[in-house]
């Protein structure tokens, strides 16, 4: 099936989960990445089980923050 990842159309296997996509895309430090699917943020707890659908749009966003400490 085709999905859009970070603005690029990609062919992935049917039923791929968010966690599998993170691995396939070789996302660096995935523990600090927020994932949106069709502009809705996915719960981290759902990454292993949530399957993507044909036509979904996925974005990976790094947590960005800091502090004085």
């Amino acid at each position: 099936m085709k999905i859009t990842v970070a603005g690029e159309s990609k062919e992935v296997r049917d039923g791929i989960t968010i966690a599998e996509l993170i691995e396939a895309e070789q996302v660096e430090t995935p523990e600090y990445v927020t994932v949106s699917v069709n502009e809705e943020f996915a719960d981290r707890e759902s990454f292993e089980t949530r399957q993507l659908n044909e036509g979904d749009t996925v974005e990976f966003l790094y947590f960005m923050g800091g502090g004085r400490a």
């Binding site: 603005g7 966003l61 960005m64 923050g65 502090g67 004085r68 400490a69």
Partner: protein
């Protein structure tokens, strides 16, 4: 790494940082990595510091998503982020380094510590080690 920011984008960043004092201000930078090796900032995004703190910042993820879509629409790539240090120097704190997860990003820090003398530096951070980048504020050509 040499990185350039236009004067107007620097001015915009500074105005926002001054307005947000005493809290830290933050945002994203977008542009292009040119073939000559220069990283050229074409746009500065002003985002909400969801921590609303003078000691911490966190970019609003919803605004981050909107900014990334805007970058793509304009043909720019995400180059990193910026934040202000209202009361400390322009260098990454230990927490800044610990939370710098993207080794390809440039991290700009604008210090407002000295009244009337803002200082902006850019850093590469990898494995908890920061290294200053050569930052140039470029005046607009007539």
């Amino acid at each position: 790494m040499r990185i350039t920011i236009r004067q107007q984008d620097y001015d915009k960043m500074l105005a926002h940082a001054l307005k947000e004092r005493p809290n830290e201000a933050c945002g994203l930078i977008a542009g292009v990595d040119r073939e000559d090796g220069v990283r050229e900032i074409r746009f500065v995004y002003l985002l909400t510091n969801t921590d609303a703190s003078n000691e911490h910042f966190t970019l609003d993820p919803r605004e981050q998503l909107e900014a990334v879509k805007d970058m793509r629409a304009n043909g720019w790539k995400p180059l990193g982020n910026w934040h202000s240090h209202p009361e400390s120097p322009s260098r990454p704190s230990e927490e800044d380094k610990r939370l710098a997860y993207d080794s390809k990003a440039s991290y700009l820090i604008l210090s407002l510590m000295e009244e009337g003398n803002p200082v902006l530096h850019s850093f590469h951070v990898e494995n908890g080690i920061s290294e200053a980048e050569e930052l140039e504020i470029a005046r607009e050509e007539e």
